[in-house]
Symmetry: C2
Subunit: 185 residues, 2 copies
């Protein structure tokens, strides 16, 4: 089974209810009431939207960082993690034209993306999905997904503020911030 | 137009005639007489095969290397480059589990992939297509494409011998080597 692909479908049904949708950079997505998350390719034939992304290999993380992350991070699906955030992001042509060392230098040496993120583990769980190299045109390059217990939302907002103020974020040309709550189970 | 995706279709028609097909590692592809190369998603409903790959950002190349490559390399479609090679490759789970620094160390510091390739520029033109993160299951991780004038095939075979003897190639678990000639124009 090809399970590295996920679909995030905004519409009238889903396991996650939308609390807010904000376009930070670039145009918004259509306003929807629910988001469903599924393995494989799902689309929305109605008035909502569907975004697709694939879990892939590390692009910047080095072994020493990975060891530290693995010790500190927790996975998705924790019962107390009833808040979520889906933040689709696109980076500009200048970012993609940079070589591997240049992008790593912006990502970590200058922006401290990994170091900043480490401060918010383990309360914030996350998964990164890549969209740019899917065989079909996607509106974004990355779908970033986060889960946490509600009391940790202020800390999550601090994390985002730090990242949005960084050198790396100068290359972001589209960003939508969707906050969700798990449907009562 | 979404033009980073290419389809390589093996079958009864195409602009390239198959001279040979050899499975170096793992199972072969079905024997075909022609290969067609197209932008976008094309499939083969018959007894041949279709492989898809996408041109993407640099994964290992650093700026200093890029500068040297750009000066030395030539593009596809040179009139004298009537021989081609399509070499689909898959790497194993151990490769993909390595962090970015580990894979770079194998790729260049140990295997000298870029340094070896530089020796064969400009006669050998190349393009790398990624398959592993397409939204659909593909048999390979990479589709490597090369073009050269016929007298350069011995040098091309030397290049491949060097790469196949390297540390990087210990992680390759499927490789098919298809040699082509351009149909008379």
């Amino acid at each position: 089974m090809f399970n590295r692909l996920s679909s995030f479908v905004g519409g009238a049904v889903g396991a996650w209810k939308v609390r807010s949708q904000v376009a930070y950079i670039g145009p918004p997505l259509a306003v929807v009431d629910y988001v469903s998350v599924a393995n494989g390719l799902e689309t929305n034939p109605g008035e909502g939207w569907s975004l697709h992304g694939i879990a892939s290999n590390d692009r910047y993380v080095v072994r020493a960082e990975k060891q530290a992350l693995v010790v500190a991070q927790q996975g998705l699906g924790r019962p107390e993690a009833t808040f979520a955030a889906l933040i689709p992001i696109r980076k500009n042509a200048a970012w993609w034209a940079m070589t591997q060392d240049e992008r790593r230098a912006v990502f970590e040496e200058q922006s401290h993306h990994i170091r900043i993120g480490m401060k918010y583990l383990p309360p914030i769980a996350r998964r990164l999905h890549h969209c740019r190299d899917l065989g079909m045109p996607e509106a974004f390059d990355f779908l970033t997904w986060f889960e946490y217990a509600p009391p940790h939302e202020p800390a999550f907002d601090e994390l985002l503020a730090e990242l949005r103020a960084s050198e790396e974020w100068k290359y972001v040309d589209r960003e939508v911030d969707i906050r969700l709550v798990a449907i009562e189970r």
